[in-house]
Assembly symmetry: C2
Homo-oligomer: 109 residues x 2
DNA sequence: CAGTTGTGAAACCATTTGGTTTCATTTCAT
DNA sequence: ATGAAATGAAACCAAATGGTTTCACAACTG
């Protein structure tokens, strides 16, 4: 990790880490400051902070300064890219028959 | 990478790499042997082979021996986990109003 | 003003990751 | 049987990743 590099904010990369997925869930429910957030994890506050920056770089989280706190909140918008990516494969399960057909072909041949 | 460890076949992890996403697309269109596949990439055949094993571990790809070749083909089933994960956030864009409301709230406060 | 709280930046570190090159093995072609 | 083709395993490597500890600083609380 090291530093929060604002280089390649990749959604796929961002959600690859389980801790970050948990963070997204948490911040969907409510906006929270870093210390409160890190109370939900066993890793250090600093580590959580880094994950938050990665999520922010990917646009998955919004940051807002309130006094000395820095509150984070989910921004689901970038997940649309994932949704679009997934949509390509949608035809496989858009109906049970196509799925079945797929498996039959896999088994045969 | 090093070796194809059949430890934690994580879908999120598997699709995090852009090369692997390209592989999935390619193998959706047709079943192919390793050498043919690696013709589509600039990295070495061995590297492609490793990516294929990672995808296979995640269940995203099926392997079939045919003579001296080893043919790979997409198995989209594990993508359903991703779809389910994504479904949680679905309410945000299930209608334009909820999305709009979300952004307004983000801007306000 | 003095002290405490909330947070990020830096410097480190071990492990994982994506790649390469080399070698061994299996299967096909002659 | 002999050689070429298709592929995985091994050993190795540089860079990225996820963590930690320490330090500095801004902003509240007395």
């Amino acid at each position: 990790m090291d530093t929060a590099r604002s280089n390649k904010p990749d959604v796929f990369q961002a959600i690859a880490d389980p801790t970050r997925r948990r963070l997204l869930r948490l911040l969907d429910e409510q906006e929270m400051p870093v210390t409160a957030i890190s109370g939900h994890f066993t890793i250090s506050r600093t580590a959580v902070s880094k994950h938050l920056h990665i999520l922010a770089d990917a646009g998955l989280v919004r940051e807002r300064k309130v006094g000395r706190e820095r509150r984070y909140k989910l921004d689901p918008e970038p997940l649309l890219e994932l949704k679009r990516w997934l949509a390509y494969y949608e035809r496989y399960w858009e109906n049970k028959l196509s799925m079945l057909k797929h498996y039959v072909e896999l088994e045969e041949e």
